[in-house]
Subunit: 376 residues, 2 copies
């Protein structure tokens, strides 16, 4: 973890303490304002904590998408996952929000698993490994309660026949110079990685092709994916599709000091396949915003603003605003010590994992119901 | 046509008078010798004029392929076509030789139509246009008498599900630097063209995948395609496939001065859809190795070695070696004038076109029988 070096956010690497305000400027996206929150309420009737609490915090034309939805025009949701390893709690943050949008709006979700990308990116990965991980990741996704009738999973290699023609049309619009600049590639990048972005972009336009009418697509995803959408928006009109719109999430922090949760640092992330007791231990060992001793903590109070344990409550494990505020204030005032705060979080995480892992095994036979190829 | 500038031979451009000996050195291939011709006879029992007369003149491991065939190991043929326009007589030279090999050896032919490549390469081409041309080109191919039971046509975009996994495994082995050097790309090349070579390479390994056993593949093709095979051979072993082998053809010259026949110079090429009378006119207007006047020709003789009309006899329209030698000598001695020589060629071409075009229409309903997707 590179706390002292320049933070880095690309689709393949998130390092250091992320400056989310700076990313807005760097990526050229817009901050979500009360206007978009009001419009969400108008479209859907309520707000999800993930948007109300600013976890989803930036966008491109989210307001345009909502207006199209309100006007009754065809709309769809799109997000995805690069199956590079087991799913951790950070990954499911956009999925939970996406599911909420889908439930409220009653529209299709297209979910892409980019097995090709992960095979191409990781020198040591075999296709067998990526395939196995893809299935494991799919189980985590569908166990969150997505409905098969309007949740359509695409696995790039298996479903390439849905994507390749679109990808070729997209590829014709993008030179090596452009992809190099946008994605940070270089001349040693393999030609699969160079082409791959066309497949992530292709799904932005797939609903229009499948429905046979101009369809407005909203992509809820972590902000590191923005380079793809910037490219997609640049070429959409010339290909005859509506520009895809985005709503961007911050990352769930790792349990160490700063940084994103990472498969390469398993002790800093809770994986959905972790044994509950291992997850409990990770949380009890987590870095916090507390003082070095209980006595100091009682006297000076802790700092929830830099505390990953607090962030886990805020982002995933305390839906009640009043209780969250209470926890915040109790930490600040020194009334709440890190030990019990961690233990209570561990209880909730363990309970979540136990239920999730039970559902997960039950879903193993139902994967086929979710594949796009079985429905379109 | 750039007669005075440096000749250029790449998969996308053949310009100037090609120095075939120089290409052998440039591409690092081997010249066919009497040894390989003898081995062909041993394997197949006879020789085709196209190899006996040196139209197929160079190779990579053609001898290895023949030995594998003789030893009874699994073998297959592979060639293809970039559907950028109508098929002309030059295109069918490798096809005729391939069909002969297939007939004699009784093995499968995999034939790739690279619609993606041609769409990606030509700025102004639409997919609809390339699709239409692909079908028209398929008609010309199958009208040459290929058997559907062992001739398997692949159309890249439609059949991408057969190729993409292989392409991704290939792509992981090739950097931008490599593809740039081998194919002559630059940073303004679109990312579809950069990826495309993986699909042309993929078919080299497809028979092994489809048969489920190591299969030795021979590719009869014009020599401009060699860069693909060089790459394919470089990575074959590391991917677990036999190195594909090649036998390289010279080009049928255009009817103008030097150069390849070209769709961009329709007057220099006989297209298989040309009206017979148009073809006759093109031949009667052709450049020849003759003298400026009949009188001079009678006195000094002509030069068949630089004469495209003679080449058409040699390559496609005079199977009889004695008659060909007679024509050569009569030209040299001044006994044969260009007018009657052209007229006799025109008669043969017209007769070929009339029969071909009749068959061609009859084949329109039989295209489906040839698609790989309907058989594997």
């Amino acid at each position: 973890m590179a706390n002292n070096s320049e933070p880095k956010v690309t689709p393949w690497e998130v390092e250091g303490i992320v400056d989310y305000e700076k990313l807005i400027v760097e990526f050229g996206v817009k901050k979500l304002t009360s206007r978009e929150l009001e419009l969400t309420k108008e479209a859907i009737g309520e707000l999800h904590p993930l948007i109300e609490r600013g976890v989803f915090y930036a966008h491109r034309d989210y307001d345009v998408f909502l207006r199209k939805y309100i006007a009754g025009e065809p709309t769809a949701l799109y997000t995805g996952r690069g199956p590079s390893g087991y799913v951790h709690l950070g990954h499911i943050v956009p999925w939970i929000f996406t599911k909420w949008l889908q439930d409220k709006m009653g529209i299709d979700l297209f979910f892409e698993f980019t097995d090709d990308e992960k095979f191409l990116y990781h020198k040591e990965y075999t296709l067998d490994y990526v395939r196995k991980i893809t299935i494991e990741n799919i189980l985590d996704l569908i166990s969150l309660g997505f409905e098969p009738k309007n949740t359509h999973i695409i696995v790039d290699i298996d479903d390439i026949s849905y994507l390749y023609e679109l990808a070729v049309r997209i590829a014709k619009k993008i030179t090596f110079s452009t992809i190099k600049a946008v994605m940070g590639f270089n001349t040693s990048t393999n030609i699969g990685m160079i082409f791959y972005p066309t497949l992530q972009i292709a799904v932005c336009f797939l609903p229009t092709e499948l429905y046979g009418e101009q369809t407005h697509v909203l992509i809820p995803a972590a902000i590191d994916q923005d380079p793809y959408w910037r490219l997609a928006r640049d070429i959409a009109t010339s290909l005859g599709y509506p520009k895809p719109t985005q709503i961007h999430a911050k990352f769930l922090p790792g349990l160490g000091i700063g940084g994103k949760m990472s498969s390469s640092q398993p002790e800093t992330a809770i994986f959905l396949v972790d044994r509950p007791e291992d997850a409990r231990k990770k949380i009890m060992d987590a870095y916090t915003g507390g003082q070095p001793t209980a006595e100091l903590q009682r006297r000076l109070g802790g700092n929830p603003d830099i505390c990953p344990v607090y962030k886990y409550y805020e982002i995933l494990f305390e839906p009640d605003d009043d209780k969250l505020r209470e926890r915040y204030n109790d930490c600040r005032s020194g009334n709440l010590l890190c030990g019990p705060c961690k233990a209570a979080l561990a209880d909730r995480v363990v309970s979540f994992l136990e239920k999730h892992q039970e559902k997960r095994e039950a879903m193993r036979d139902r994967v086929e119901e979710y594949y796009l190829r079985n429905k379109f």
